[in-house]
Symmetry: D2
């Protein structure tokens, strides 16, 4: 049994981590922390999960206490960027495996971090110990790294369709445009008038254009696959649903067809349990993946425009966050990839 | 032209007052105040209404400035209970007509106020100057009163069906049970995690049972119509929609039929433009009234239980709040009842 | 392994049965039938579940073929009332265990069936072989019966709170009023303008008052527990959510308190895995049970009215239909009660 | 008073036409037809509007009866494509003004009609009498035409931002990509399982890619403004809301900035009451225009990609359909443009 802790479990990612890890057959959920909820029974805060949480209580989010806790093998950080790094350092030094869901270790370059997150990177030294890992397109040797940066929700939905195409040269890296729609939980769990039911129901809007923070990790990963810098146009939108991301990517066809895309995808993703390629020409829909750790991808050719249309959909809290983090834990600890995942 | 001001216009009732009064042909909207929004153009805060708001700006919610403003005939208070009374006093003394949407002047008894609102009434003396007015069932002479207490949203949906039946003796006052469903805007516009989109969408729940604050004004008004004390069971629920209240009242039939109820209703509400009696046996639905100042009411007889079922629906922000306040202004200032109302 | 079939799997109950039974560790899902979908891969119709459905195909809903299929131990009927009985007969005669989710075997009396369903019972003879079973309040010896009538969604939400109170004499059977709110999936999966997204979103309404069909089985079961006839007032409402039922029952307190209710409930439901008694005074909310087979129940005392308020919430497609059917299968076949259930 | 009729008023466009024209101060609503609703009181079918509909009844959709009705000056056709043309012919011959909301007269070329609508144009001869009119970018002399083709919902949201930029040469016509999100009412009012509440709530999806029917009229109008053929990439999505369209257009910047776009827009749309240019850098949101006839447009420059991002939002049933049709009637009959429009 892997003994795990979750730090900062008051938000939506944290809640889904609690949901997954409390029922994971290979895991003992040993600690759940939250600054604001310390002292409360976890079952009281998440009544939906109460039957399997027993008497587990939220404890304080105390980095050194967690570092010294011999009963912990791995720790999931569900904290805001800038805060996560401060927890990662002592855990790393104490030899714990860290799965960080924040942006603090997603970028190779502290300069890009500063450009996109508006502050100095809190611990640039630690970047060397970290690996950004998309489980279906991993860097070799990532399992040796003690600090795993889990990809963001939008990035996952964009990288899964694009990485194999760039890596294989099926497409080129110019003029890629990704239009994305996210459910409201993407904004996190917080008291904010703008995300109240009355303000969000029955309304959609663009936001974060043209330079949303997630652009930084998307471009860095695409560049790594393409072997040269990539600049992307990223057009996020907020739509009235709780969970789910739908992404539509338009890219010059480079003389290729939908069939060529399918070949590259199948070559990369055959036998990967959480990527479903819609080969029959149907388009993905978020309800088909919400509640699962799956990402569905499809391709169509717009011959008139000489462009390929790549579409994907995922649950932003599962494949886009906590589900993927658990998937990474499974792989890193040598468990079956799908265990404990819906 | 009636020159009006709106105090506390940052909430939903305030926004709907701005919407109604800015396009009301008999009104000049002269002042819109908000502590938190002072200095901002109203058009910027309510972009939906921007075309008709010109350069109007939010000003500070300053009671004495409003009282001394000679350009104001009437003031609408869209403030929390406990706060409204502090504004009503100087406005009253300055001879302004006040329409108060809070609970501060809805109850005749300061003791009941304290019981239900948990604090001493802020200005019991002023209660004498106030009248609680449901426009379709008004106290005689209310137009002489300078301070009009506008009924609450749930109370309107319960009083409209019940008052004529109690006043006419069609039903008796025992064993009345009102089960109500409200949209989320009934909770007001505030940053509160519990009312976020993600927490409210696709979920319903009971709340405020058995002693919701609105019970106090409902029982006081029913008692007044019945001529003797009334105790009611009030069962509110929160359902995932922005606007609208659906109320279902179960009451012993007292040997009467649905036809008897229709007779009493028609006697009271014939020719009242904002009450629609569904005589054909259909049941009301909130979408048919949301966006209007109308309340739809219907009756069915449950002969097996010897009970009558009275149902009603209204827009909680219009007939249940701001629309009704404007209706009262129309009547008090001698305008046509329906003018400026959808 | 129990080898099971699902008949009429095109609707929502059928889909949830497919979801549950395809991942149930003690079950082999051997046949899934649908008149309208015969020949299609099940994975194509339910893409959300595609990973675990393999090459299973919908077959024709052919009663005699199912009856003669030696590879089937049990059959779930997810068919309209009136139709289910025609399938139950040959399956019964072939010695299959039948779990019927329709109303055809829920009532003891063909006369009541005719009164409430407007048609003669299709097979009154077969009623003798049937048992109506609420797993937490079962008739003794039900496991011997070959034909299990699974309770309806509203009835489950009303019977679970009331049955122990009537059986124990905690309350009396007079003047019980149940106000219920159901999500839209309660109306089934069908092409109907009235249940389109545009007509249902953001709107609520009463319906089926005062004599909804489910009243018949509710009253029959309550009478059985009380030992004398019970007449109930049942006030259903439709609210804009996909899944979930919230029920609020008002009943004269008979001199008893909330504590007395808790005692009776705990006596009946202690150690029942799918009933959660909210003992701390909180009220239930549908989001806490949707996606699970649990029903949450709570009680408050309205001392002013001398009435008890009983509230419950469940997922209408799980505890209110397919989840409960699988729970009954588990119990009947001697499996652990919770196996395969969320 | 203009005496008008509405043909095919059972759908959403028809309902909104009834709503607008029944309260339009310059209009007498003389006839409302529907094949399926003939004989029913209009007030019964649209209870939300009942107060202003009097005893008006649906009549049969009979083209020759309408043509011979001397009490009609203008007729709005809210019919499916292919059907509308059959009504337009006799009305045209009888000298009525026709506002057609279908696609039958939107295209200049019967060949393009056949390519995109899959059938021969029903009356190519009549195309000469027709004008496609976007009121803010009209063809000269359109008021002389007896048959007005009202633009579609998506096209309006794309043409309003693009037409002035192409006409002024601010942008060039290559490589334009429009990603759009529509509410569910865009699919019309019909009994269809796929558009049921349960299937649409909380889910989003792409559809109609890459060759949605609306592409034909979009490209034809863009070409007319640009003076040369235009090919566009059109990426529609369905999102869970009733009304509203959000459009995000990405176009190469051609060396221009956001300021240049604002200049071109202001030159075309200054003083146009239904176009609001968001000059302050905010992005549009559908709730700010739903319920109005307004379209909000904004621009941002993605300097890294050398692309401009044009965003717009409108109510698909008002500015995208019936509101725009009434706006066109106002202009054609010499009324004030905004009269009768919210």
């Amino acid at each position: 049994m892997i003994r795990v802790g979750i730090v900062g479990a008051s938000g939506y990612s944290g809640e889904v981590l609690v949901e997954l890890l409390s029922s994971h057959p290979g895991v003992e959920l040993a600690a759940v922390t939250s600054r604001s909820l310390a002292g409360k029974p976890v079952a009281e805060v998440f009544p939906r999960l109460s039957h399997r949480l027993g008497s587990l209580q939220f404890t304080e989010s105390d980095a050194s206490a967690l570092a010294q806790n011999d009963g912990l093998d791995a720790v999931f950080l569900a904290l805001p960027h800038g805060v996560a790094a401060g927890f990662a350092r002592p855990l790393f030094e104490a030899g714990k495996t860290v799965f960080d869901l924040s942006a603090d270790f997603r970028l190779g370059s502290p300069d890009v971090y500063k450009e996109f997150y508006g502050q100095d990177h809190p611990d640039p030294e630690l970047l060397k110990a970290a690996a950004y890992v998309l489980p279906e397109f991993p860097l070799k040797g990532w399992q040796e790294k003690p600090l795993i940066a889990c990809p963001g929700c939008y990035p996952t939905s964009i990288l899964i369709p694009l990485l194999p195409l760039l890596a294989s040269g099926t497409i080129q890296s110019k003029d890629i445009i990704a239009s994305c729609m996210s459910g409201v939980s993407g904004a996190g769990k917080k008291a904010n008038e703008d995300f109240s039911y009355c303000e969000r129901t029955e309304s959609a809007r663009p936001y974060g254009q043209p330079k949303h923070r997630h652009l930084s990790e998307i471009e860095e990963q695409l560049a790594s696959a393409a072997g040269s810098p990539v600049i992307l146009q990223f057009l996020p939108h907020l739509v009235p649903m709780r969970r789910g991301i739908v992404t539509t990517i338009s890219v010059p066809d480079n003389g290729k067809t939908a069939e060529d895309v399918l070949v590259a995808w199948k070559s990369q993703y055959a036998n990967r349990p959480f990527v479903r390629i819609l080969e029959d020409g149907t388009l993905p829909e978020s309800k088909n993946v919400v509640g699962t750790n799956r990402i569905d991808i499809a391709v169509r050719h717009d011959a008139r425009m000489q462009r390929l249309i790549l579409t994907s959909t995922e649950d932003n809290l599962l494949k886009g966050a906590s589900g993927q983090a658990v998937q990474l834990m499974n792989l890193k600890f040598g468990l079956e990839e799908t265990i404990g995942l819906p």
